[in-house]
Amino acid sequence: MDITIAWRNIWRNPRRTAVILIAVVIGIWSMVFMGALMRGVEVGMIDNGISTLTGDLQVHSRNYRNDPIVENSIREPELVHAALSKVLPPGAHSAFRVRLNAVAGNARHSAGVTLVGIDASAEKAVSFIGDAVTDGEYLSESDANGILVGQELLETFDTRLGRKIILMAQDADGEIASKAFRIKGIFQAEMKATEKQFVFVSGSAARKMLKMGNQVSEVCVALPGHRNSEAVVADLRRELGTGGEFEVNTWRELLPVLNAYLEMSNSFIFIWYVVMFVAMGFGLTNTTLMAVFERMREFGLLKALGMRPARIIRQVLIESSIILMIGMVIGNLLGILSVLLLSNTGIDLSDLAAGVEYAGMSRMIYPVLLESDILVSNLVVFVLGALVSLYPASKAARFTPIQAMAQT
């Protein structure tokens, strides 16, 4: 019966109810939508980070990450190979690479780059480069002098397909090795920095140039669905022994900045919810309070008829709960709808590329809905919403018949 009365009370003044409803709807919608956007940015950053050569996990020689020089290569890649074949779940891919700092130069320009010697077919399954070549061709298995460069590097070097690029780097004997490569393909990446930093040659060409024998700098593994990297890393560490020759890391350890950002981002979303709610909550309290004052004579009458203050509080709370719930249903529907509308096209931030890149974000944002985010935002709104209605409700409960009569 309380609910029926509450329902009727709500619609006694539709305009007032509509105002509160709109506040709630906009609040919920923005929480759901902005939450999804932030998650979308996160997912974009993770995908970006993982596919830009990081993978889900990597194996290095012990000192390589501190000092990525040719002396710190993995001397016996067969050991890693054997361990991987034992440990990796089906569907996982691995790639062995040479990855060292080098200097690229042509007649007019030179720049520091990261030389990546890749196993052409294995790399395809692990990192972005496999399908990033937009012009020219991808490397073949034992390309002796083909090189893939990024669009951005190509432009700064003022060169084109088929032209020569000289790479210089320190070889395994400590001498400066230099070799001429011809631009075989041009790749485009999510970030301009990637296009500028990395050049790809075949692993065999890199090893020959740097006199590395069959050594590699790193082994990169991509797991199906980016899951369970911690478990696989633990297995690998056990398999490779704790002798200290190898180092196995998940992408979270390899990209500490990204990881820190992700952890921070969770708190950010929650803070965002609370801020949104504070804005909404004031509107809610204010409107409910106004409604309560308007209905002073009614509450006075109920009091005079012998209604207990607790029931009046309950009555007001039920009314605002109903409004909150209606608002939540509409707000969620709107939020989910707008996310769905955007999830295919995404939001294109190319115009702001420079700034976006500085933050390490990808150029396209595809909003991502998480059940937990929706749940948390609704819970925040409902619990806090009921809480702020307590004040007007207790105000209503404290009206006396005398006060009510004095009110005209």
């Binding site: 200097v103 007649a107 000289i166 210089m168 320190q170 400066i176 230099s178 070799k179 001429a180």
Partner: protein, 252 residues
């Protein structure tokens, strides 16, 4: 009749070959001889370097020792604030010494393409002087006569896999092996920078271009000029000159 014809042909051949034999060296040999001529077996030189830019100009005096194709040591003598700075090259390796920080550094690949002492010469120009002899194929492009002497313009194309940044070089060698010019082109065969050697005088035991001017093609009024003020050629120089410890602590 028959014998006359044959003897005509023989004489004709002799005349033609005699005309060529005045200077029949291949383009490759000419470049080689030219470099041999200017480097000598060993040399010691006092050189002035002028770095000229539209709005400023810097002069340095230095002493340079070379031995064979591969070894050289250059030490700055003035101005005072740069005195003692040195560059040593042995084989493929290059070191630099700065007395202010008392450090010798071995040049990493990343510094090879940087300018040497702020000039229009790069470290690579110094480190890879013998590259022109080993990484290129030379063909004679044209011959011209300057001041009554033949000047051979030689076109040098890099071998397909040679690790050189240039797309082509052109070298002008006079018939008496004096190199008059060296031009550096990119892969589109556009001029990137060029060096002219002029003011040929008697230096040491031979005629030598005293002024060398390196100029970037698109740099307007900027160039670097080397002026040889003293030059002595000798058969050999002590190995102790071309050592890191001598770079750091000059023995003479």
């Amino acid at each position: 009749m028959k014998t006359r014809l044959v003897s005509f042909m023989v004489i004709g051949l002799l005349v033609i070959s005699g005309g060529i034999s005045a200077d029949t060296r291949s383009a490759d040999q000419r470049v080689r001889d030219g470099f041999e001529y200017y480097r000598g077996k060993s040399s010691e030189a006092a050189v002035e370097m002028i770095i000229h830019r539209p709005d400023w100009r810097r002069e340095m005096k230095m002493t340079a020792w070379t031995r064979g194709d591969a070894d050289s040591l250059i030490r700055i003598e003035s101005p005072a604030r740069d005195k003692g700075n040195g560059t040593l090259k042995t084989g493929k390796d290059m070191w630099m010494y700065n007395p202010k920080i008392n450090r010798v550094i071995k040049l990493p690949p990343s510094m090879m393409s940087q300018a040497w002492m702020g000039s229009d010469f790069s470290n690579n120009d110094l480190a890879k002087t013998d590259s022109i002899l080993n990484d290129y194929t030379h063909t004679l492009d044209k011959t011209e006569e300057v001041d009554g002497k033949q000047v051979y313009w030689i076109k040098s194309m890099p071998r397909p896999d040679a690790p050189v940044i240039w797309g082509m070089q052109r070298i002008a060698v006079r018939e008496d092996d004096i190199i008059l010019a060296q031009e550096f082109y990119d892969e589109d065969l556009e001029l990137v920078k060029s060096m002219r050697c002029y003011d040929i005088k008697m230096m040491g035991d031979r005629l030598y271009p005293v002024k060398w001017r390196m100029k970037k093609a698109d740099a307007g009024d900027s160039y670097t000029e080397l002026i040889y003020t003293e030059l002595r050629f000798m058969d050999t120089l002590s190995s102790t000159i071309f050592t890191v410890s001598n770079l750091k602590n000059p023995r003479r």
